[in-house]
Amino acid sequence: MKVENKTDQNVVLKLEKVTKQIGKQTIVNQLSFSIKKGEIVGLLGPNGAGKTTTIRMIVGLIGMTEGDVIIQGSSIKNQFTKAIRHVGAIVENPEFYPYMSGLDNLKQYQRMTDGITDERLNRVVELVGLKDAMNKRVKAYSLGMRQRLGIAQALLHEPSILILDEPTNGLDPAGIREMRDYLKQIAREEGIAILVSSHLLSEMELTCSRVVVIQQGKFVTERVIGEMNASAKTSNERTRIMLRVNDAAAAAGHIRELKGISIESINRPDNELILMMQDKDIPDLITLLSANSLAVYRIADAKQSLEDEFLKWTGGGNIA
């Protein structure tokens, strides 16, 4: 399950033992991970885990006490202008000049990088769907519109990595879904890597291809999303199955006779059992139950959600 070390040149962003100390407090501690082209990676952690601090160090807004961040081969510490060129980012909320129109704001960022054509600007505006609001002052924008404008400014200079800090903060369900679709579309069409920080677990599960979990500034684990559920189908690994019958206690008695199946839990009021078993044993299980005239109402994957995993990794508590 562990992700293999990536040494190939597809690596866009690489953190090497990044550490941030403020006074005696260590906010981020020896954090290392990397992101490849086209990947959407979630930076996950409870509140105060150091997600925002990590992101600010990646984009050079704050200095690091130790370690380095390498973006497309350039160090953000020693070759800032060369490294930051490849980065588009929104750190916390996208903040604009409220008294200017959306277009005037984007033009500010257009002037800051050489070679951004008006066509590029229009294309990005169209991609985020803000065409009709471009001449309105940002003051009159809703939060969702400001998020979109934020994405537009981040994409303007064709970055190879997009870094978003809590991009769904304050968005309504429709906005969250829209944001997720954008991110996937951008990763696919523009082929860029995306790093998203969040504590919204279900959201990360749907958006990201991989998550990096940190807690108290330290690396906890790294998981490929979908792997923990999908891998069982192809291998002989045991998977968690939920079974609902008319009499859970009786069913449990019979199941114990079968080899290769273990009962994880029995929920008597609902007559549900959670089993660990291989897919190939399911027909035997059904045959056995019907032979003993037990009614089977449901057999389903008992997916362990990212939330469950997350609680396991971070030891519960402190989750926003």
């Binding site: 202008t81 916390e92 996208p94 008294y99 500010q108």
Partner: protein, 250 residues
């Protein structure tokens, strides 16, 4: 260089797109025209010549104090407003060093002051020509007055630029600036009996005093004051740039 000019253009637009941009010009226009009308109405028989009037408006020890106040108040937020809006995060993650960004802000501020001074000078000349007549002072001396005023304003603006970087608060910057403008006279007066007073910036800022051949404190000269000014300016800019470069932007 072209890319630096575009940064300056950005900074200029950030100042100019604000509605309050024109208020500064409105106030200066009101001061110039108001002063002219007051002099005309209540000045008795002795009306100043056109050049005298322009000189009065621009002189550091004439009505120039108003100009300094207006010019610095409207540029005081040039750095701090980015922190207050949070837009500094977007500004600093572009492919420019922090020094370049800060330099573009300083340049935009200088341009603002020069444009404002030209506006005030031209308006004062036009008003003077309509309401008064005759030249008693040569125009070259009026220009010199404008030059002293420009220097005086730029020194104040640089000092407030530093405060803007240090405090990240427009209000605090304007507060400190106004306090110094109001009390610089008293402070220097109280301290002027000590010998070290000649190294105080405020005593050296107005170079026009040397035109009459006198000096605020014995031993001071145009050259001496120029060096003191240069040292202070370098200090203010060094503090601004070092702070801005080192700062963790939260």
């Amino acid at each position: 260089m072209r890319s630096f000019m575009r940064l300056v253009q950005n900074e200029w637009l950030k100042l100019a797109k604000k509605r309050s941009f024109y208020i500064a010009y409105g106030i200066m226009a009101a001061v110039v025209i108001g002063a002219a009308i007051l002099i005309k109405q209540f000045g008795g028989g002795e009306l100043p010549a056109t050049t005298d009037f322009v000189d009065l408006i621009l002189a550091v020890d004439g009505l120039g104090g108003v100009f300094v106040m207006i010019a610095t108040i409207f540029t005081a937020g040039i750095v701090s407003i980015e922190h207050q809006l949070g837009s500094v995060k977007m500004l600093l993650i572009r492919s420019h060093s922090r020094s370049t960004i800060l330099a573009s802000k300083y340049a935009a501020m200088l341009i603002y002051i020069v444009v404002m001074l030209i506006f005030t000078g031209v308006l004062a000349s036009a008003t003077g020509m309509v309401l008064f007549n005759g030249d008693s002072l040569p125009w070259s001396e009026v220009l010199q007055t404008a030059g002293y005023q420009l220097l005086y304003t730029v020194i104040y603006a640089t000092l407030m630029f530093m405060f803007s970087v240090l405090t990240r608060s427009t209000g605090a910057t304007i507060g400190v600036g106004l306090f110094l403008m109001m009390f610089e006279g008293i402070i220097t007066m109280l301290l002027s009996r000590y010998d070290f007073a000649k190294y105080i910036l405020f005593l050296n800022m107005n170079l026009s005093v040397y035109d009459s051949g006198s000096a605020p404190i014995e031993g001071m000269s145009m050259g001496f004051s120029s060096i003191v000014i240069a040292v202070y300016m370098l200090l203010f800019l060094a503090v601004s740039f070092v702070t801005f470069n080192k700062r963790d932007v939260a």
